[in-house]
């Protein structure tokens, strides 16, 4: 019941935001002024690092889309998409991003030619209303992460609404998929930590050998940059159950600056929701540049894009800039000029990661990179 009320509140916020913006556009138009739509700039340049809460928060740079010759098409598209969202909320329905793109095919010349165009407009509206995409009733296709280990998830039956108990130890060689919306989930666990893993390959190895049982933990496969649902799931799990989160990703600038950074403090693109869609308590297990040396890992040279990404992180990313340890680590990697993947540990034997690397690292969890 409490959850239903919260849901209504969220719907109301989205609905009111849509109506307010539409009314402003209408009033301004009738007065013979050029109407405007205001939304926060969605980029890393418009975020600051909230040290206390530990996420990337939006600054107040606004992107103002004034209706002119140049913007008339995207202006019409934005309003039309707001209209779709309003109808979805009112009819308690959803549309996937892809479905929304196809709905636009009814708009004649104002239709979207490619889905990335409609996704961008969607993100704009989301930021404009400062709500989550799901609150606008737009659903992503992106798959959430997968979970295996010492965790029981309580969901509800879609038809009856009855609680549904899901034991994540019982998926055998498979795993539990994180649903797109996770707000209603409740948890039960005695695990000591959550391990967020970048690659499905490494996740599979740990599941196949029941590492979660050995280490008494919850394994989460992120499959690259974690989706919003994955981030929210881990966040709620960590907060509710008060267990630490460790990230285990490739030792390269992409692993640091994109995967880990987004997991821990959110993204620049969806900064308006970062507060809830990130895991500030997460720490970085590996692979660190020092690991490459300590474990004599086989490496690949850094490519130009890697070096650029690394320099950019040190220079422009407020999260890394705040943490001296990270600046040092990234500089160390640039100096070494090499990167190493998680699975490079296989050099020392397929189960080296389970038997040696992870146990050794977790013993010194207090020394993880922030």
């Amino acid at each position: 019941m409490a959850k239903n009320k919260k849901l209504d509140k969220a719907d109301n916020k989205a609905l009111q935001g849509i109506l307010k913006n539409a009314q402003e556009v209408y009033d301004k138009s009738l007065k013979g002024h050029k109407p405007q739509l205001k939304m926060p700039v969605r980029s890393l340049s418009n975020v600051r690092y909230e040290k206390k809460e530990g996420f990337l928060a939006l600054k107040n740079q606004l992107k103002i889309r004034t209706l002119t010759y140049n913007t008339v098409k995207s202006f019409a598209q934005t309003l039309k998409m707001m209209s779709i969202s309003k109808e979805l909320i009112e009819t308690n329905d959803h549309a996937s991003k892809r479905e929304t793109y196809y709905i636009s095919k009814n708009w004649g010349p104002a239709r979207f030619d490619e889905q990335p165009e409609s996704d961008t407009v969607m993100d704009d509206i989301e930021a404009m209303m400062c709500v989550n995409r799901e609150q606008l009733r737009f659903l992503p296709e992106e798959k959430g992460g997968e979970v295996a280990g010492q965790l029981i998830v309580y969901d509800r039956d879609r038809d009856t609404g009855k609680p549904l108990k899901i034991d994540c130890t019982g998926f055998g060689s498979g795993a539990y998929s994180i649903p797109i919306s996770v707000e209603h989930l409740e948890f039960q666990t005695k695990a000591k930590f959550i391990l967020c893993i970048e690659t499905a390959g490494m996740f599979q190895r740990l599941v196949a050998h029941n590492y979660w049982r050995k280490a008494n933990c919850i394994l989460i496969s992120m499959g690259g940059v974690p989706t919003r649902a994955t981030r929210r799931f881990v966040r709620r799990l960590a907060d509710n159950m008060r267990i630490p989160v460790y990230a285990f990703v490739d030792g390269d600038p992409y692993g640091f600056a994109n995967i880990y950074r987004t997991l821990k403090v959110g993204s620049g693109n969806a900064a308006h929701i970062n507060e809830f869609f990130c895991v500030p308590s997460a720490t970085f297990l590996g692979v660190t540049p020092q690991d490459i040396i300590d474990y004599k890992l086989p490496t690949h040279p850094l490519k130009d894009v890697d070096i650029k990404r690394a320099r950019d992180a040190i220079k422009n990313d407020p999260f890394f800039r705040f943490h001296k340890e990270w600046v040092n680590a990234i500089e160390q990697m640039v100096k070494m000029g090499v990167r190493a993947e998680q699975q490079a540990l296989a050099k020392h034997g397929l189960n080296y990661v389970i038997e040696e690397y992870l146990p050794q690292k977790i013993k010194k969890a207090n020394k993880f990179l922030p």
């Binding site: 002119t68 010759y69 008339v72 708009w107 004649g108």
Partner: protein, 577 residues
């Protein structure tokens, strides 16, 4: 003669080596009688202008049968127009061409190809014979002047004065008669009636080319056959070829009406087809006044000549009397600056004259009077182009008068763009000099040199290197002067005087600037249209979305669409400022 013989004998011995070389020239030299100064002197004698031009008829525009016919028409028409304008008569001119021989069939391309294969020489195409009649309503010519005007080269009223007119030297019409006489042996016939006389004077004459004197074959008074009160009929029988199209008589007559809208032309072609081009205005152009040369640009030789012939009583008097724009004050100024005394004509030494001539450019002298030149006018020039081309944009400019070699002149330029003008061909150029269309030798003309030198690319046209630009453009250049400098007596191309070229350049550039303004304006208008239609495409969806969200009525929706459309269109203009 004896001496010459000796030389002829000696020469092979002098050059024995050369003689052994089997060389044609040296071989025949044995039999040739060599000349000396005395023997040559016996054959040295005066050449009459008639004789000279009879041999060099291309210099007068009679190079080929087709052109000869056109030149004859042109010379007669020029004279008629000049005479009418001087007398204040609205010209009515009829040109009639009768074929006297059977039309010669032009060889077809197949026949030409056949001839090429058979390796036989091509048979000379016999020329056709025509009877050309030009009838005007001019003031007529006094009977005893007729033989000299038509039967003598370099006789006329226009050479010794500085006044804008079509004819200049007094060669044209007599040369046409001479050409007829040479090609057909037929005399020229002239009928002329003065306004106050009842009968018209008729003469039939030939030119004695050796003496450049008319030989009158027949002279009588006849009944005037024309409705006009006065006028002249010139009849010439000549060889020629008549073809319509480019550089034809038809083209000449049409172009002539463009530069002479006050004239009524009729051309009756050999096939009897009548081309009547009525006058477009009843207003005669202002009569150009005669002027004296201007001191600027008078060359030293001419200056000496004028000084020798002066009727002035002193140096200052000479300057005042024989030049325009030289007042007493200016004359004093010149003498003072030259450091010479105001001596009598008998004491004009070359040194004094040289000093004065050197000084003249340093003294500020008013430009020559401009009323001596009557431009066609910007409006009429545009109309001229409009009647010749189906273009969409027209512009014209009349430059202010300028001076070359002391002769005032005015350049006028006009330009047409777009419409049905071909976009991928070199631009069309119409040239006029003192209202006479120039149909030949376009690339020898000063205007051509200027056109190819201008960078047309900067005005939005394509232009191959050093060539006439390519594009949907027609250009008109009119040079009017008291003395138009032609490259030859056939008056086909204007000579390369820097002053004239400069004025043509400035005139064309002015037209081109107006063209590029027009082009950018047209581009802007097209862009605005495009923008407006772009806005119209998407604005309805803004209205539709607002209607859906705010549950607007159809009226409210349409109103907001309309208001937004107005706002955006307006904003578009604001944005550009």
């Amino acid at each position: 003669m004896a001496k010459a013989k000796t030389m002829a004998k000696q020469s092979p011995q002098r050059n024995p080596k050369k003689a052994n070389i089997p060389h044609e020239k040296t071989k025949t030299a044995k039999n040739v009688v060599r000349e000396d100064a005395e023997s040559m002197a016996k054959r040295q004698r005066e050449i009459s202008v008639s004789e000279f031009f009879a041999k060099n008829r291309h210099l007068l525009g009679f190079d080929n049968p087709k052109k000869a016919l056109l030149t004859a028409v042109k010379e007669a028409v020029d004279n008629s127009l000049d005479a009418c304008e001087e007398a204040g008569i609205l010209p009515t001119i009829t040109v009639k061409l009768d074929r006297l021989s059977a039309p010669v069939k032009e060889p077809t391309p197949e026949e030409i190809a056949q001839e090429g294969k058979s390796k036989k020489g091509r048979a000379v195409v016999p020329n056709e014979r025509f009877h050309l009649t030009i009838i005007d309503n001019g003031p007529g010519i006094v009977a005893n002047q007729l033989p000299k005007i038509f039967g003598k080269l370099l006789y006329g009223s226009k050479f010794h004065r500085l006044k804008m007119s079509r004819g200049q030297q007094g060669i044209g019409i007599s040369a046409a008669g001479m050409y007829g006489q040479m090609t057909t042996g037929k005399p020229m016939k002239i009928t002329s009636k003065l306004p106050k006389k009842d009968k018209a004077a008729f003469v039939e004459l030939t030119i004695d080319t050796k003496t450049n004197k008319p030989e009158v074959l027949q002279e009588k008074e006849i009944v005037w056959s024309q409705p006009s009160e006065s006028g002249t009929i010139v009849e010439i029988t000549l060889e020629g070829r008549y073809q319509r199209g480019k550089q034809s008589i038809d083209e000449f007559v049409t172009l002539n009406t463009l530069s002479n809208p006050h004239a009524d032309f009729t051309f009756i072609a050999p096939d009897g087809e009548k081309l009547h081009l009525p006058r477009r205005t009843e207003e005669l152009p202002p009569v150009p006044s005669e002027i004296k040369p201007h001191p600027y640009g008078v060359e030293l030789g001419r200056f000496h000549q004028l000084a020798a012939e002066t009727g002035g009583r002193s140096l200052a008097g000479f300057l005042q009397r024989d030049f325009c724009r030289v007042s007493e004050k200016v004359a004093d100024e010149i003498l003072k600056a030259a450091g010479v005394k105001d001596v009598a004509p008998s004491k004009f030494t070359p040194e004094i004259l040289n000093k004065v001539h050197e000084t003249i450019p340093k003294i500020a002298i008013m430009s020559p009077p401009t009323d001596c030149i009557v431009p066609i006018g910007e409006e009429l020039l545009q109309e001229t182009l409009r009647s010749q081309t189906q273009a969409e944009f027209f512009t014209a400019t009349t430059r202010s008068p300028s001076v070359y070699r002391g002769n005032p002149f005015i350049v006028e330029c006009a330009l047409a763009f777009g419409g049905e003008l071909p976009a991928d061909e070199p631009v069309q150029v119409f040239r006029f000099a003192n209202r006479v269309p120039l149909q030949f030798q376009p690339s020898a003309c000063a205007s051509h040199r200027v056109i190819t030198k201008i960078d047309w690319k900067s005005y939005g046209l394509q232009q191959p290197r050093n060539a006439v630009p390519v594009g949907p453009v027609a250009i008109l250049v009119h040079v009017a002067s008291v003395w138009v400098p032609f490259t030859s007596e056939s008056k086909e191309a204007i000579a390369d005087y820097p002053e004239i070229k400069n004025e043509i350049r400035l005139g064309l550039q002015e037209c081109a600037r107006k063209l590029s303004i027009h082009l950018s304006r047209a581009r802007r208008a097209a862009e605005e249209d495009r923008k407006a239609s772009y806005i119209d495409t998407y604005i309805p969806y803004v209205g539709e979305a607002l209607q859906e969200m705010l549950k607007l009525s159809d009226n409210q929706r349409d109103k907001v669409i309309q208001t937004l459309r107005t706002t955006l269109e307006k904003g578009k203009v604001d944005g550009e400022e």
